[in-house]
Homo-oligomer: 373 residues x 4
């Protein structure tokens, strides 16, 4: 398999998400980091690109010149990852899709539903892949959970619990910290902070596992740290298309929680529980029987879990191979594998979660009204 | 210390809660089980009372004869525990209070707010203790948590999470099981099932730890098992008097959860986490510092935790000594110790939780409106 | 069921083990604490006996007068618990057995093998029960483990791991603490400290679950805190009669361990894991299948586990009900139930563990030689 | 930073360790997989090399031609990883060192002490790095543990516990499975199976964290599965040069254990506990204070832990980034950074662990004699 040329926008030095993308994209030799516009500061962008081994003529000062440069080359990038501030996702994704380049965009896809819909239509028109980096769907045991739900093993899913509740914005002193402050500034972050940043990861994963869509919801937003204009904690009850009710809690002030992403599934015939901080185990409780601990790498897993797994049972796989699974599936999808598209978090999820954010903000402002998406 | 005579209504053979009361009351030699009306079936009541060593003239066929019998004796019981079906709590408690006998009543205190208020007024008038068995407040580390909150160590409490989500009513086949069915029958259970049965335990504990009262709330009820008229799952957002927001999740269909009672506290300066299934540990996270595992029985605990603890660190104490702490405090309160009253779940909590159930049911019916208590 | 009169020697005010015995004996109404010689200080003994409700004429200044007093009464105690310093176990147990009184003796049974053998012979001759308080065998899930091994579900047991490694003697400053110092003084503690105090609990439990006896062993002793004459850490490899190898680690300097009692069973067809600090769960791994978490109180447990369990699944039972199971079985055995004897840790275990201590000390002194018991 | 050319011997298709090396070496752009002799079958070797993007003229049929080919090129590999069967480590490593190529060799370094010593001398003479892939030393929290021990924070280390006890060879049916059988065949595996395969990982890590060497030991070997000529379970007590006693348990029949690598440190002033299956947390218990959970990625860690960490707190890092840390340090060491050598498991550890295996096998055969290394 030859590597395909890939480009990265954003993800400069010190960016954690940039590293995760680079490592994930490289892990299976599917992609070569051929081009980049890595930093808003052109000098830093150049210097870091050099360090990463990007050829100097493909290390760009901004995404516009990158688009121009790459679109004009025979060996131009086939996939671009957009890891820039949220407000820029729309125009960058649009521009690259317009040139027929596949896009993996960081979440949230856009700031408005209108933009999200436009991107979806454009990707379809251009016959391009547009995936949204709900990267936690790459974990093998998340895929195992989805396969178990799909197989009917759990019966009808009555209820799910989705959590992404961390405590890293608990320090009121961070009001002055620029890395935190912008997240609670409506001018920069839009109508929602922690729901848009974290909560939709958990909710998207719930829809992914349940194989259902969001139909309606009610929301309560809390600004727990005094002075914050946007919510740092939220609770939603969400109705899914297949009849499942999903309870979502997301927080940035749950002091003591480190990451706090967890999904639970409660069906007629069985329950599942998965925690991102211990991602190699899936807890499965068949009705009226003992709970089982299903280990990544063990025998008898669904192929979507087995193929997403790289090392032997008992050796922990962390977040990076989960990202690598996203990239491997993107490559397979680019090579025409439809089943890979089914495994990927595609634009429809991205659109749906933008709607969730907007609808939840509206519901929260209205005192918790039930609203259709 | 001489033992005081104590009576038990309900808690017959096979009743788990009855055993827990008997063991708890006996553990510290504060009370002697002197009288009982243990079963709705007078024969079974007699037989079990004999087995428990109750004198035959104080083993009663019903609570009415017990009241008459005991009120007429010089050595009559000083405290009665009411562990009968919910709908009978009111009249039994009222009758014993009227005779000046202290009462420990199982939760929920009554079926209506009016009844609850009446009992509160009566207890005050009669100068009697009326405690409600939110027995989990007897756990040493729950008391440690409360002491830490009160001390200001956690700063202002922004948020709490209260859960009591089990999975023991997940089996749809239990629709025909009389031990389960009545719980979802409005005629027998009233306006709420799992919230009234489980959820208020968690919420009461949150108010206990936070030292605050419930002011208003919004609720969503779900009947996950087809055909149930009452909720088997509920989510509430609750505003406390001191400014804390509390998120409550309670369930009977969370398949895989065994008990699922857990309380978390998120303050400005620290967080706490406690789980009933591992009750000897309290997780404490000071702001910007590592989480600490505070062990029951370790040095430096608050005296309310130390005094509520019986065996050395590392040996698990379970639910029975928690109940024993309730009885020990009742005895101390009867002996005039005001600090014991402060440690106990008293009638005000009982009234409050009856209001919570009624208000939540109303909010849930209204689509999640915010309602004052 | 009428209560039987029971007496306690030792277990005075502040003694944790005394409380555990009293609560355990009382829990199921099998025994009445009728007599006591609770403290080496006669005044404290009297005062505490009064507090516990022992009649003043049966509150004795020492065990000798208790023996005399009780043996002379028609309603004299039928069972005595010996919870005095180790060196006194022999003569007290001997004296009470000689009067035909059943004995529950704290571990270690005696200081020498000769004494242990003598007690065993005497108990047999007098047709008395002589149990040794390896009280952790009272835990329901320990009994479940034993039943699973006996049923053949795990196949031949190749290997066991037994641990009782705590860290509570890690502080070198405790060299001056009288409550710790005597434990490392050969004049008071004999040939072994932590093995005799803790390790034999774990090893006895391994033999109990495996249904095998100790045949031979090798040992290594460590005195980790400078200046200690006896071991505060030991490792043994033990050969059992049925072919199982058991690895034992016991420690008092494992800083960070709270209690550290854990048993693991590794058979041909399955494995088990149980930890005293989380005693309500038994982890069971069938060969080539996922690990299952078997909960106390769940359906389908062996009757020895079900009958040893008092409260519903999900409510933690701690150490006190485990002790109560010992007392309930003692009562049943006194009433002629042979199956109760099978569940109890009897004198043969007591003798065996005295031999283990002596043999291990000898092996450790010899540089780790394999020695027959 | 330009990438250095790197070669891999062994690690063919389906080899898990090969993937771990490739991903680890690639993660930080330190090395380019320029050459390989990936499989004993030349055809498979070629085909897999092509898939991995190795140029066809540098995809070799065997290590001899690779040595010849690479040694003759200006752009020849600077580092080779030896991931072949154990018995071939010696001659391959020797040959590459002789050509001045740095070597990372899988463990065990060699089959005999003589060979190990010879390689050590050769590496020194040739001024080449010779590292041995005790790859678990690359975990950030292992490095944090080492830094804490070195800092004196735990005081003198009295005792350590090292475990690597899995259950994956529990199935007696695997006697016929060629992937398992050779491991228990002395002709192929040498004098030891599970100790040489797993146990030395844990023991090496203990020496790494303690910053001490092995001086003497005693061992017990068990062949738990009938018919095995080599041990599938072993227990060692090991004396370290700085006075620490280390207890090692290693197993392949601990049914229910998944991986089972864990290290505990017990010092005068504090204790540490780390488990490979949950590698992002280090449990630290200061004397007489609560246990703390130190998270990878949190503030205030030692720089060796911080620099070994790639993603934010709460996102799990697994085994692959641990391997990447080994490669990053190798690169730094090749670039002259002495501190990187200090972080790496170098040949001295490799030699020491070969001695441990030989000495332990001898001790086990002698009935557990204490033997100097």
């Amino acid at each position: 398999m030859n590597k395909l040329n890939w480009g990265l926008i954003g993800g400069g030095k010190g960016s954690q998400i940039g590293d995760a993308h680079r490592i994930g994209a490289a892990m299976d030799n599917c992609f070569e980091l051929a081009a980049g516009a890595l930093d808003i500061d052109p000098k830093r962008a150049k210097s870091y690109a050099k360090q990463l081994g990007i050829a100097s003529d493909r290390s760009y000062a901004d995404w516009q010149s990158m688009l121009e440069g790459e679109a004009g080359r025979e060996d131009g990038i086939k996939l671009v990852t957009v890891a820039t501030p949220n407000a820029t996702h729309y125009e960058i994704s649009k521009a690259f899709l317009n040139k027929g380049i596949h896009v993996l965009c960081e979440k949230p896809l856009t700031m408005t539903v209108k933009e999200a819909n436009a991107l979806q239509a454009l990707a379809e028109k251009k016959n391009c892949l547009l995936a949204v980096n709900f990267g936690y769907t790459g974990y093998p045991m998340v895929r195992q959970a989805r396969a178990m739900v799909r197989s009917g093993k759990l019966g009808k899913i009555r209820l799910m619990s989705a959590q992404f509740a961390h405590g890293h914005h608990s320090d009121a002193a961070d009001m002055d910290n620029p890395r935190v402050r912008w997240r609670y500034d409506p001018a920069q972050a839009g109508v929602s902070s922690v729901l848009a940043d974290c909560g939709i990861h958990a909710l998207q994963m719930a829809t992914y596992i349940a194989d259902q869509q969001v139909e309606s919801l009610q929301a309560h937003f809390l600004s727990g740290v005094e002075g914050r204009e946007l919510e740092d904690d939220a609770s939603l009850t969400v109705a899914f298309s297949g009849g499942t009710t999903c309870r979502l809690w997301t927080s940035a002030i749950a002091l003591g929680h480190m990451h706090g992403l967890a999904i639970e599934v409660f069906g007629e015939k069985g329950g599942l529980s998965w925690h991102q901080e211990q991602p190699n185990q899936l807890y499965y409780t068949p009705l009226n029987k003992p709970t089982q601990i299903i280990e990544r790498g063990s025998r008898g897993l669904h192929k979507d879990a087995t193929l997403s797994s790289r090392i032997a049972i008992g050796h922990p796989e962390g977040m990076m191979p989960a990202f690598a699974n996203i990239y491997r599936d993107l490559r397979a999808a680019m090579d025409g594998d439809k089943s890979a598209v089914d495994r990927l978090p595609m634009v429809d999820s991205g659109v749906e979660m933008v709607k969730v954010v907007q609808t939840a903000a509206k519901s929260a402002r209205s005192g918790g009204k039930w609203l259709k998406l």
